[in-house]
Symmetry: C2
Subunit: 340 residues, 2 copies
DNA sequence: ACGTGTCAGTGACACGTGTCAGCACTGTGT
DNA sequence: ACACAGTGCTGACACGTGTCACTGACACGT
């Protein structure tokens, strides 16, 4: 009764030593049994005793101790700042998470709101993740990448259009979205095509690429592209619609279904007929776009990036030297409704 | 030149021992300096040498080792399954993250997609978080709570309308949203009020409470409430609109601006005039709702929960026995536009 | 009686960190 | 000359885990 092991220290969390004591075996045996270590043979009765003891104590291994001993973890860190919204992102994210779990990684999102670039990198490095996937919300510097790699990260991967020295990159071909939209508009006979460029921060890298894609699509067709800065507010849209005739456009690719809806309403309120006078095309195929009259034409995007990205992570972890510089084509097609 | 410490073991992660060696001091001193331990006095020149050595090696402390030694962490775990979308959630989430950081907690989101309840709890427990905030996407059982508490979690907090034995709860008064909506509709003279109940999984707990709130609001006024199951699809909305006249409703609170927009369009297509024949009220005050004609009336919700929740976490960690059973009123008001 | 082999399990170390007790010096008062 | 306090630093332990080298016990063939 002098040892405080049994019930007196009730509130301390059980360790594998406690399990070993209860099962009457050594700690090593406990480890072998609970991890199903193949190279060691333990008799079935002993296995049962260990498992029952673990169950009874409610033993849960200590991840930190485990990865400390192992010298590495299977943690993939996903820095998060302002959560982007929308079903597309949600789908991508779920797919990434799911695919990484299948590959036996643990996905951890780390809130990095309000941290400066290298400060953030240091915070991430403390967790010793095996890989870091940056969605471009926190700007990653080459120094940041160096910090992470030095801390043992096998792979640092940037997603999107940014490219950082030392990091792997999965380039999303956002340009493709602009390209198919502009191609469609040219095909239906439009000549002067506006391209909405959102002014909201954090969207630049998508917007710029889509604009660029549209430019490529019209090259050599005689059509032209005009960038149109727009904030996601009614006033901004009305202001733009007010000087629409002066711009002399007969079509607009509006970055997004949301921006498209906003702009289309403003155009109609300003007396501009859609699609006769101006065609409107959005992107993402939101259900809400189908509710407007005319129904909104849109670019439908297949989000298969999640699985690609997961595989990129895995191969980069296995062999950090291989730099596949993957590129995803963002398979996308125009769904023509009534607004174009 | 026989020690592989300097450049030959280049690729190994620097530890505090390496820093100590380079600075020519003991490891203890390094720890004291880098943590600014108040109770120990170290001369300024030594401090500088240590800091410079740490800088030169790119030393980053090992969070796992640290929390292993400390016996506790400042990690708040936020299980994530299907990411809910929408600006409201985004705002809440950023606020929570920000507030917890100010209280010196580290927020970690853990992807728990596809895990069963207690399996998930065990996975979380491995990380030994000091607190777990469950948003109700993964159903938490009393056993799950027990597992977490036994693993050292000081606070297990559920957010939303679920309540779990053993866990603290921050009850969001979702009923309030339904209440103000229904009150408004009664006030403008409506008598038979439909309340849309989304059939999508994961929304039940919100939907049920809002319905309940609407029921409370009409009690004693002579008005009645009719629940209307609806999927977020055009077909479902059209089907509902097709039998609208048979339902004999003169108003509907549609759970959401999105559902409201969907339903309103279907009603109009079915020849039912809004708001004359049927008034429509949504919730969340999406910008897009203002684009429809008539403009959508909506319930505007103040999301101040983030800070409340952070404070609840902190107080629960400080004194796990205190059970404040907090309740948030979801301060909300109707913004009347043209659809009601 | 002795080497050889298999089975079932154990003891001890290392991972990187924080902290406690203690040690060598130096000044300071008597 | 000695006690005493203060300063600046170090040695050693503990946290919980995985794994390697090793040990007793027993069976078998000669």
């Amino acid at each position: 009764m002098r040892k405080p092991t049994e019930q007196s220290a009730e509130r301390s969390v059980p360790t594998s030593a406690d399990v070993a004591r209860l099962a009457g075996v050594s700690r090593a045996t406990v480890s072998y049994v609970l991890n199903n270590t193949a190279a060691v043979r333990i008799s079935e009765p002993t296995r049962r005793r260990v498992r029952e003891a673990a169950e009874e104590l409610g033993y849960v291994p200590h991840a930190a101790a485990r990865s400390l001993r192992a010298g590495h973890s299977r943690m993939v860190l996903l820095p998060t700042a302002h959560v982007p919204i929308g079903p597309l992102y949600s789908q991508f994210f779920n797919e990434l998470q799911w695919s990484l779990r299948r590959l036996d990684y643990t996905v951890v999102q780390y809130g990095s709101l309000g941290l400066e670039a290298d400060e953030a990198a240091r915070a991430w490095a403390e967790l010793r993740p095996v890989a870091v996937v940056s969605l471009g919300q926190v700007q990653l510097t080459p120094q940041g990448v160096e910090i992470l790699k030095r801390s043992g990260a096998k792979a640092v991967i940037t997603l999107g259009s940014q490219r950082v020295e030392g990091a792997h990159a999965l380039v999303m071909d956002q340009g493709r979205v602009g390209r198919v939209a502009a191609e469609h508009l040219v095909e239906v006979g439009r000549r002067r095509i506006g391209v909405v460029v959102p002014e909201e921060p954090g969207l630049e890298m998508f917007a710029e690429r889509r604009l660029e894609g549209a430019r490529q699509a019209v090259a050599g067709t005689g059509a032209t592209v005009v960038p149109l800065p727009l904030r996601y507010e009614e006033d901004s849209a009305n202001e733009l619609a007010g000087r629409w005739r002066a711009l002399g456009l007969d079509a607009v690719f509006a970055y997004n279904d949301e921006y498209a809806m906003l702009l289309m309403r403003a155009l109609q309120d300003a007396g501009i007929s859609v699609p006769e006078e101006t065609a409107v095309v959005g992107s993402d195929d939101l259900l809400l776009g189908r509710l407007l009259r005319p129904r909104l034409s849109t670019v439908q995007i297949d989000m298969v990036i999640g699985r690609h990205l997961a595989e990129l992570v895995d191969s980069a972890v296995r062999d950090p030297e291989s730099v596949p510089e993957a590129r995803d084509l963002l398979a996308s097609r125009v769904v023509r409704r009534e607004s174009s």
